[in-house]
Symmetry: D3
Subunit: 283 residues, 6 copies
């Protein structure tokens, strides 16, 4: 349903199938039919069934695609995510591209869920959010996978919200001036976030009326001090140096959001495969 | 220079900049100029300078891009990969997209080099090769990164070479028939690879005249037995279950290629950042 | 600099020049050169010089484009906005497309300024904002034109902020539940706006913690009552039935934003022309 | 059915839905279904039902679209143009884009009909024609809307017919030479039109064998004199300064065509809305 | 300069270079430079220098392209059409695609000239015109090549002019009704052509006021009779069964145009090659 | 099914139908239905039914397309390849584009079969292969047509296999060094071909371990000498100067492949037409 996915699927099919599938065309007659099952080979969070279906349908509009699970739900090792039947040539032509989409999206969703689980176990209400450190061309899909894994999205693009960093402050003259300039220029629905490296900057951001304050690369003790200064006048986001191992100690009272680039840029691929059975149950 | 990169850069700019950069437009006047440096924050293998340059130039054709290192070369933590000067608004608009390309490509190249280094240390001549398990839309770029890291490429697409698997054998009736059908249909420059799970299949593949035999998920002992049967009549590729930790024990005499999907699908992102200095040296 | 403009310029050149320019090719030899001036034929607010320049450069990369005014500035009737020199064939091939972009963008900027001027004359701090009622394909450009005319932008797309209307409330069960569901799902930087048709809905929206309340199609008296209920706990936006003639009476204390679809969908085209002089000064 | 519409619809969906619809996704479960009706809120000439249907179908191929009126027919205020049923999320995601197409196309068709009505009332056979002053990217659609409103099209692009203006005459040396050069170069199906500002030019155009003569910015008296000189040897087109108010006095005997840029570039948007009812009759 | 050429060049580079040039990358270091010359290996009419230049520049913007001849001019066997210098890798990557464009365009131009020469030798003023039987994707380029060869273009697309055939007449009820319907609907600049298979149809077409009459598949004697009936009241086009060998006998007085599909669909490729010399003069 | 065909069909529809079909829209009411038959007007090898079907379906998704023959099979003059029923306007709008695809693809397949027939008549096992001398944008389709005609494909692109020519040898220093460099860089599935103009080069290529040796522009006597030197250590390909007339004398023992550019670049178009019958049998 996301319009940008169309282009990415086109690129993906183009790069694998520009000249067809030499092997399957040589061996399977056009009328040979099979049923394929996409199977999880590890426990994972399902994500990407729609785009995988789109890959199969773009390769051959006559393939019959039947999702058996739902995005955002867990799959056990061995569980079947979706079934596709039709021409064997088409199934094999689409196989790798469909799996490549799924392994990345399930990988991110599964990775995100690990973070979300830590938060849940700790009984915290902190949001774990992604960043704009996504794979070029995959922004919307990867952010969707983060949501499937139970985490949250930060802004989608540079055009929605304001994030004021060092360079902006230097150019504007002060945090106050930067916030004022951004508030004047931005749509009234856009929140303004200020990145702070020091407690002085935190105080200045509060005074400037920032809606969100990003505590960048601060240690827990410094974070606590910052939260005291903010005193509920802005949302508190922390970022930098947080990982699965040390996440628990950042789940401090007063923290609203922890944003983590690794959610999208370093999630390992999930392990999935496609199993085929000649003949076709689906008619 | 790769034509498909154009489309991916377009998608990437579109997703981050469809409505411009709210923050920088609000704060920097159009005439404000800076110099930016892309800096490695970890030791890494450089990869992607050209596509990063393309990102900057597509955002603003007047930016002056100066690469300081070369793809395929190592960078130390703190080393500057490239420098870009021009309008501050343009530099900040391109920053995240350029870094997102670099962090993935340097990440893969750096990851690949770890495998290549094990081979070198062991004094082996085995090739480490990638697979088609690449990020959709990124096939050409990721395979280029693998080469930058000192590893090799397997086939690029389904249209170039023949890879015969279980399903093909079942449909053809035998390995011999499958190889014959493929040989007849494929271009005379295409090699034919047969996947074998058992020693019987290995023997059948040799007898069928396969150019390359893929020993799928075999343990070292079985691999040795297979190599004996192949006896130099085909190239020997192994795949499945090989990782950085156990790679050394697969570097057996007679093995030509080890292919590893994780080279591309699970390399962690490299850590890079862009540092800015107001004003522009390049004028 | 906006990535989506590229595609629109491509469509525009394609539709006028798919088979070249029959007339000019028949009459002007390729070496014939001219200088063209884009002239305002009415007082207007300049907008679109960059996209017009892009049209000329895409038709012929050797044309020399020189902007003489700046987007967002006024031009008097007869004033020259930009000058372009080079091959006469190229200038004439680009003429209509460049003017078609400019007449629409200057038209919107000029129209917007009339609204902004009423606000200024009244000494009000109310923002006049656009809506998503833009020409398909032109969202980013038209919203830019609104800013050039001194007005503000509402949200750019459905993916940035939350706007809760009747249907959402009905499905969620109450305004409170709708706001809560949206708050949970939306990025922490997204503000939540609730559309209210009655004072009861206004009170419910305040109680639900809406960030912005849209008073839809209310008359001034009702608006005043609503503002009293809101009491500064949310931004106040009004929409519906406001036009240049009656704008002044909606500039009430407590109103933050007035959004007006006609800013973009019904602005008359500005009158501009291109004047040519054979020969080329720019050599 | 027009191939260029595809690209425009893609751009339009991309700009509104690149990251989905935050609000509806948060509130409506995927299975929630509704029926939507597109309603005229003013008397209008229908135009664009096919492209609106395409918007809905591109957002969700399972939506059931049922047109209730036909392009080119009148709709009264309150009349339903089309009905769409299916997933509520999809209906709301497509709503604004579909309406944005319809409001512009119905707007132009409705505007064009006002001109056509004046001609009819006067009992004239003059054609009212559009120009190439269309919205970039919208050429084919807007010219279609003009036809729906009962007016006619001028040429579609620079590549079809010949239109000789001042610059061409100056470069060719004379109207006669310009017409001869164009006649020689143009396809034999292309007519040649000459723009004339003076009666001398009119005579020269007739002598040169122009198929159509454009009387540019002439007053009725001068037009009558020109028509006398043309004496049926060419079609007579007039352009410049004609509007709804003064149209009647230009409907002179001997005039074949009056072309008016405002038909496309300054038609106000038609007022339409989409009304929703939860549940779906179409099942 | 033609906008559609961009897309075709993209497709062409994509299909040959999606994964780069294996051979040249393996052997030439990036800094290796050469000068290449595109040489005619047969006498030909030059056509396509601009699109060939575009191919080189798209592969590598730093290549220096120098055309040495001009489109539409003759080249002798051995003559150099253009010279390109720069990185050897880039020259070889672009070579085949550039030659593939040139061999087709020069082939058509050269083929067309043979027809034009027969006309010239016979002292006839008949136009030889192409048809819409062009290679999909190549319409504008192939029609340009026809002009370079001294022949003329028929209509470019279905959207410009009217061509009434049997089916239209059957549906309309008569030639007269078909012409009237088309005249009413078509732009006033569009000419109306009627296809006639018999002399009765010729008479009907004249009576209906057709601008051009196409004598389809008639023999010279029948053509003469038709011309007599037309008596100058319409342009006379003949089509069907005309080839280089029998062209002369169709060059009858009263014939205006002969259209020939083979001009574009069956022209043999021209023979050209690219010769390289290591090192680069252009530095 | 080939992804690149999509883009070519888009370009083709765009160039013929950007502004619709003036004639048919004027004459046929939208509800008028017909059945069309694509008929061979000469004996030919069928090729392109799928892409022709795609053209009809892209113009109007409701057309019912029924293929009556199969790609790769012969059609006699007068035989019907496919039948399409539905709206007459849509059938006529798609007609020329569908035929233009078919006439080129059937033309190439038919042409290729003439070569394949010579080989068969001579009882030879030599493969006739195409080259990369294809129409830009048509690589995959034209190579498919070659296979339909019973011939074989050479490599598809520069990125799959290695072809070492004079320039590479000069830069590498020797054939041996060039082969070694290519072997090291290329994927292990890629074969390496060396072009040889002399017997010395043939010997050097054999010694260097080339997989395939291309004997370029050699006469039969020289070819025999070369084959003796190669002695089965490499595949033997010959190219240059071979045509239908002299093919038989190149079918020498020891020759594996003969590659011929004219297969794709100079095949004459096949003659096909579309016949219409008002009304529609297919419901």
């Amino acid at each position: 349903m996301l319009p940008s996915t169309d282009s990415l699927v086109s690129l993906a099919l183009q790069e694998d199938l520009a000249f067809g599938d030499l092997t399957s065309t040589a061996i399977f007659p056009p009328g040979h039919r099979s049923t394929a099952r996409i199977v999880a080979r590890q426990p994972l969070v399902v994500c990407g069934l729609e785009v995988a279906a789109q890959v199969f349908e773009r390769v051959d509009a006559k393939l019959v695609v039947k999702p058996l699970l739902q995005d955002g739900k867990p799959a056990k090792a061995g569980e079947v995510l979706m079934q596709v039947s039709g021409a064997t040539r088409s199934l094999l032509a689409a196989e790798r591209t469909a799996l490549n989409f799924l392994q990345r999206l399930c990988g991110i969703a599964t990775h995100a869920q690990r973070y979300a689980d830590v938060v849940k176990v700790q009984g915290s209400a902190v949001r774990i959010a992604d960043t704009r450190k996504t794979t070029p061309g995959w922004r919307a899909l990867e952010k969707y996978a983060v949501r499937c894994g139970g985490c949250h999205n930060h802004r989608f693009s540079l055009g929605e919200h304001v994030m004021i960093k060092d360079n902006h402050v230097a150019a504007a003259g002060s945090i106050r001036k930067a916030v004022a300039a951004a508030r004047e220029a931005a749509p009234h629905l856009s929140r303004i976030e200020v990145e702070a490296d020091t407690l002085e900057q935190v105080s200045a951001a509060v005074a400037a009326g920032a809606d969100v304050i990003l505590l960048d690369n601060m240690q827990p003790a410094q974070i606590k001090a910052a939260i005291k200064r903010i005193a509920g006048k802005a949302l508190v986001e922390i970022s930098g140096g947080v990982n699965l191992q040390n996440l628990a100690k950042y789940l401090l009272p007063g923290v609203d959001v922890i944003s983590i680039g690794a959610l999208t840029h370093s999630a390992p691929a999930a392990d999935l495969s496609m199993e085929m059975r000649a003949g076709s149950s689906a008619r």
